[in-house]
Symmetry: C2
Subunit: 343 residues, 2 copies
């Protein structure tokens, strides 16, 4: 990429109501900012897409500061350090962490997730946003620590084509789960889940009767459920959990993250009567264990036990148009926008 | 009590819809049954009242076999063995476990909760239904194992005048919780909670704004919440939990246990974003640890650290009329019906 003095940006133009749209963002050109003490200037290379970006666009931001009107949209991303006022980062370092939809981003090392300096590796750089990024690490800590999946378990993973779900399925298998069932929308995605992730059976949530299929597939109940969707599916799953079963609340895709009032699980008293354990997961709480997770994931990748799927689109101009596709049947795996090559 | 050949019974006459009523039961006189192999004939002395009895009256019974029309109403109770075909029980033994609203009940030692032979003790016999019964043991395992309350915690207990809640408050204090807040309905009950259970503050859910009071009383958030009521209170509490906080689902009194569709907590995504742990409790799952719990409770009682409150009514004829009062502002503490004295 030739040196540039222009910093392209996508700014939040208006707060979305309901589904997010490309038109909620506005293109802008600004000067390249100059880092002050403790700041690092990062040139953007890749942006990763997460459904939780929709939460940051709400009035209260959910678990982070909301993005304000006129601010560039926040994203997980990979970039290269071009100037640094933090001794922990050197010019030329490749880094992964919170960036925003700009060519040049002022980042800090001390946010809720560390700005990680990426080691040299023999895999595509973008994998640091997928299998070694939020999706992979959330799947890893969700299956191991949150759900404590162990050999012999029957496990269900919803949104099993997603960046997190597809890895959750594979990690559960790697840990010896007896049976892993994934849910996905449509015949093609269901086939993908079985062929690529090693899922034992896929349930098509669009055409199958989940309750009936679970009765048929899991007559002995479900030990662990990795929930990415919420809504009716969570409610149905609660009725299929075994006594002392475990549920992980990882996401609520079915809500689109845009409802003021979400649908709570009306069967939640099963938590009481079956003495279930329901845990949440937010990767921020594992910030001191990220290296451990990445190391284990790396080992499984090298052993060929994890199939890594990415869907990479190229060109900064596409940044806003891709976000709504997170909620409308995108490709399986991790959705990534390539912005530039490293030096 | 003079020997009798008549077995008085209260049978389920019709399945209640909505609130349970005394008229849902019918008086009957039957012969005294004769135990067959493995059975024990127990003469009823005390019946304990639990809100969960309402669940057993639903079509599916919740977590136990539903009570069928024409069957005597199931209850936790204390009785005396008058005939035994199980070598584990001797004539004259005082026992506690699942009985039913009859003078004479055929019981078994191998149900979901053991029929416990009661040791001689220097406290009222009825305490085996309260502090040493379902309420006390649920409070004990709920606070210790379910919520893992530790010194310094801020703890909230709903329905803090109840048989379980009032002991949960005291057990949390005994374990060193920094602050314990109880909820109760009405000024008088709130005063009782503070005076008798050592609760630091009581919130009147009928007149106080729970959200505002919690912001005022717990500016640093809540570490552990013992939920006996569900509904809006659970939803509000979820917004006040600290990151990594713990919630125990013990009951849902606010529902009256009679709704086909219960109100699920619409703020449940806080489980994800604050990485909460939500666990259920059903004493059946602690059946191998009941003696451990009773021993610890006994020690605290002897040390004067637990205030035990009972509300004892006398006379078999009152059995059905007391059940609806579980949901309509009964006295604080454990509600017990005395049926007869032991020999």
């Amino acid at each position: 990429m030739p040196p540039s003095t222009v910093n392209r940006q996508w700014l939040l133009e208006r707060r979305p109501v309901g589904a997010v749209a490309a038109e909620d963002f506005r293109f802008n050109e600004a000067d390249i900012p100059v880092p002050t003490d403790g700041e690092v200037l990062v040139r953007s290379l890749y942006f990763g897409y997460d459904a939780s970006q929709r939460i940051w666009l709400t009035d209260d931001g959910g678990y982070m500061e909301p993005i304000r009107i006129g601010e560039p949209m926040r994203t997980m991303g990979i970039g290269q350090v071009v100037a640094s006022r933090d001794p922990g980062y050197q010019v030329g370092d490749l880094v992964e962490g919170f960036l925003s939809w700009q060519d040049y981003v002022l980042a800090r090392g001390d946010g809720p997730m560390p700005l990680r300096v990426l080691p040299p590796a023999d895999h595509p750089l973008s994998w640091h946003l997928g299998v070694f990024g939020v999706g992979g690490l959330t799947a890893y800590f969700g299956i191991t620590d949150g759900l404590q999946v162990k050999p012999g378990d029957t496990v269900v993973v919803s949104a099993a084509t997603g960046a997190t779900g597809s890895l959750a399925v594979q990690i559960a298998k790697a840990l010896g789960a007896k049976r892993v069932i994934g849910t996905a929308g449509g015949e093609e995605k269901c086939r993908w889940v079985v062929e690529k992730t090693g899922c034992d059976v896929a349930i098509d949530y669009k055409t199958d009767n989940l309750d009936a299929r679970l009765r048929e597939l899991c007559p002995d109940g479900v030990d662990a459920y990795f929930d990415n969707v919420g809504g009716d599916m969570l409610d149905t799953m609660l009725l299929h959990m075994n006594p002392l079963g475990r549920v992980l609340i990882c996401g609520a895709m079915s809500s689109g993250y845009c409802d003021v009032k979400m649908q709570g699980p009306s069967n939640y008293m099963r938590i009481c009567t079956y003495q279930l354990t329901v845990r949440g997961i937010l990767l921020f709480f594992y910030r001191d264990r990220l290296a451990e997770g990445a190391a284990q994931l790396g080992e499984w990748v090298r052993e060929g036990r994890l199939h890594v799927e990415e869907h990479v689109v190229e060109g900064f101009e596409h940044a806003p148009a891709l976000l709504p596709t997170m909620f409308t049947g995108k490709q399986p795996g991790k959705l990534i926008l390539k912005v530039a090559d490293p030096d």
